[in-house]
Symmetry: C2
Subunit: 131 residues, 2 copies
């Protein structure tokens, strides 16, 4: 391990390459992820990205989220839109409600809860039901 000119090591913030190494993302992807607003690190005076512990954590969980559920960054971005844009959420929610859902497509255990609480808020169940 060669001694490098440590650019910024104020507290426990990592630069993009360091963050890349510890999270498994490529620097390129870190920039991309930032670009779509999913993980936006703070910046040093000179404009260097500074990844804090929270950022790193989020980057790792993001990775898990992605390959754990076959979801793409775009979908997460979309989910974020759903959260931030009440209009969109209402519209989508409304459309889905009007959709006749065939039980076969839904995991049995999920289905029961869904059917019974159809009129509850979408994710409200995530807090009331413990796994």
């Amino acid at each position: 391990m060669i001694t490098l000119p440590t650019v910024v090591t104020d507290s426990s913030t990592l630069t993009i390459n360091e963050a890349a190494e510890t999270t498994g993302w490529s620097p390129r992807m870190l920039r991309y992820i930032e670009e779509m607003g999913l993980v936006v690190p703070s910046r040093s005076g000179a404009g260097y990205r500074l990844y804090g512990a929270g950022d790193l954590q989020r980057l790792r969980t993001l990775r898990d989220l992605l390959d754990g559920h076959g979801v793409g960054l775009a979908e997460i971005g979309f989910a974020r839109r759903l959260v931030n844009d009440t209009n969109l959420a209402t519209a989508v929610h409304g459309w889905l409600e009007s959709t006749p859902i065939r039980p076969e497509e839904i995991a049995a255990d999920d289905w029961l809860a869904w059917e019974q609480q159809k009129h509850m808020a979408l994710l409200d169940r995530a807090e009331t039901s413990s796994t």
Copy 2:
């Protein structure tokens, strides 16, 4: 208008081409939309797709939903997954909650509600807050 061999006109179900005309979607897209489970018409004995009033309605609102909010079919499919797969929803929800959100990105009016009710269910707001 030539007289066609009316394939199946039981009640008020339309065949795919008719449905296509009244909804604005191409037959191709209707099949595609069905393929991703968004609008799945019933079938005649011979396997012909039969679009009922509900299906047609959903197809039209789907169109509005899409070009009204710049959303893709894939996103709607994803939203559906969110609704049906509690696991996914919880995971995504959890990740988003851990995300530090910067106000600038959020519509001012939305933001207030969001900030204050940060711990409420995602879409619960859609029902409590009236626009």
